[in-house]
């Protein structure tokens, strides 16, 4: 029996694993099962390929917590250059890679207030591969200019900056960030997406090939690894997510990607 084809979620996880290739230490936010799954898949793939071990820190988790110096250690560790990749979301993300986690409208008495900037204004400066990850890709999220810069995408010459945006991954596609431009270039459209839809859903201009590639689905080995070992590892930290994932993948009302 052949495996069912990759779901939309699996495409995201596999894409994240690709973006993490070659990293040694990845930090993942507390409630981020898809980035965590991507990191776990990257770790499993690295192990299979005999590459150096990938360390995954999941913030707020006791089991995947490599830290013993309180909540400041993540930031110290990032500053020391010991974290290669991290994920940032964003209530708004603009074409210059600026991220807004504060709210909509004029600061401070905003129309909509979100929780706050967390560590973004530091980690965006210190971690080389920051992957902007937001499943919702609409023109209210992907805006021309954010209402508030929690963390800027680029910095003026002379400003100490070791890190920044590396890629933007959404439910519609994958963009890579070009810090010299600065701006995003569409790398691939997820299966089922069109360039026209992408333009419509995106408030900022972006570079793209005339006919953008489609985000590649995983090969059989990778998919097996994801649905086996990785799903099991994921279940230890995100039991609800893993259970839902299993249902989705193995058949009840499958929201499968049409490839």
């Amino acid at each position: 029996m052949k495996n069912p084809p990759a779901t939309a979620r699996e495409i995201l996880i596999v894409t994240i694993a690709r973006l993490l290739h070659g990293t040694r230490h990845v930090a993942v936010g507390a409630a981020s099962p898809i980035p965590a799954a991507g990191a776990m898949l990257a770790r499993a793939l690295a192990e299979t390929a005999g590459e150096p071990r990938l360390r995954i820190s999941i913030l707020g988790s006791v089991k995947h917590n490599f830290f013993t110096n309180g909540s400041t250690e993540l930031f110290d560790c990032a500053g020391q250059g010991r974290i290669d990749a991290f994920f940032l979301g964003g209530g708004q993300i603009d074409g210059a890679g600026n991220v807004n986690l504060i709210g909509v409208g004029a600061y401070p008495e905003m129309k909509v207030r979100w929780p706050g900037s967390f560590g973004s204004a530091y980690l965006y400066f210190t971690i080389p591969r920051v992957i902007l990850f937001r499943e919702e890709h609409t023109s209210r999220v992907m805006v021309e200019k954010v209402d508030f810069i929690s963390a800027p995408g680029t910095s003026a010459e002379g400003v100490y900056r070791k890190g920044g945006p590396y890629a933007l991954l959404t439910g519609r596609g994958l963009f890579m960030f070009d810090k010299d431009k600065p701006g995003f270039r569409l790398e691939s459209l997820h299966p089922g997406q069109t360039l026209e839809q992408m333009h419509e859903a995106t408030g900022f201009a972006f570079d793209h090939a005339e006919k953008p590639a489609e985000t590649a689905p995983p090969d059989e080995t990778t998919l097996a690894l994801l649905r086996g070992r990785v799903l099991e590892e994921l279940g230890e930290t995100y039991p609800d997510f893993a259970a839902g994932f299993r249902t989705e993948t193995l058949g009840v009302e499958p929201k499968e990607v049409t490839t």
Partner: protein, 269 residues
């Protein structure tokens, strides 16, 4: 009748700067509810180390807060913090938005008894642009221009948190959650509630001593079983997500918040 929680609560006075822990790091909810029930404190300046949750939302809902310095306030999986969001939108509280390591840096400056700590990052953010108290200067050790942000020392009047255990001498076991120690080092008064009080000396055994905040920094301790509920306490119990969601739904309006508080008061206080 006055009990141990009242004795702790009495240290908190109107206008004070109160440092509170992150939602998974030992939130003293029983003490917070007691403060709200007593109803004699207003004009608090909360310092979230480095983010806040239910505790902050409730204190704001109860009208006890004027200023919140934080990197974020939310109810985690249960969604946004309704009383916080409402108070910010309406301008009823002053918000000092920060980023996590900047709050840690401010506390560290107080711990080290220096006026400021330098920190990387932040430049070009609207966080920085809105913090008149943070200064940018050129790194004097660099030959070229090298702008860097200085975070002034944060000196809380009071730090409050909940921990798994304390001994009779007032030593408190905090394990790996060393930001709780950082809060205590920086604060003038530190109030701690614990799940249990042990009869051994936590400092006498090197294994427990390694995770202990010495009594030297602890003003007072009170027993409060399940004192972080409905937040969780690491190694002891998980967050009560049903209760957090129940609160999140109720507190969408001021009236709903009041009803929730009246209804659940007797359970704890």
């Amino acid at each position: 009748m006055q009990d141990d929680l009242d004795r702790l609560a009495a240290h908190v006075k109107s206008g004070m700067r109160v440092a509170v822990p992150v939602d998974y790091g030992g939130v003293p909810m029983a003490l917070t509810r007691r403060l709200i029930t007593r109803g004699d404190v207003t004009d608090l300046h909360l310092i979230c180390v480095p983010t806040g949750g239910l505790q902050v939302d409730m204190l704001i809902g109860a009208g006890m807060v004027t200023t919140v310095e934080t990197s974020a306030v939310s109810l985690g999986e249960a969604g946004g913090a309704p009383r916080f969001n409402d108070a910010v939108r309406s301008g009823r509280i002053r918000i000092l938005d920060a980023t996590c390591p900047a709050i840690h840096a401010g506390l560290l400056a107080a711990q080290k008894a220096v006026p400021f700590m330098p920190i990387r990052g932040l430049l070009g953010s609207d966080i920085q642009a809105n913090r008149a108290d943070w200064q940018v200067m050129d790194n004097p050790l660099s030959e070229g221009a090298d702008p860097i942000v200085l975070i002034p020392a944060i000196h809380p009047d009071v730090a409050v948190f909940h921990a798994p255990m304390a001994d009779r001498a007032g030593n408190v076991w905090i394990g790996r959650r060393r930001e709780l120690a950082a809060m205590a080092y920086a604060a003038r008064t530190t109030l701690v509630t614990v799940e249990r009080i042990v009869e051994t000396d936590l400092m006498a055994d090197e294994l427990t001593a390694a995770g202990t905040l010495p009594a030297l920094y602890v003003t007072d301790v009170a027993l409060a079983e399940r004192g972080a509920w409905p937040h969780g306490l690491w190694g002891n119990y998980d967050p009560d997500s049903t209760e957090l969601r129940r609160y999140a739904a109720a507190a969408k309006t001021a009236a709903g918040f009041a009803a929730y508080m009246a209804e659940t008061e007797s359970e704890i206080a």
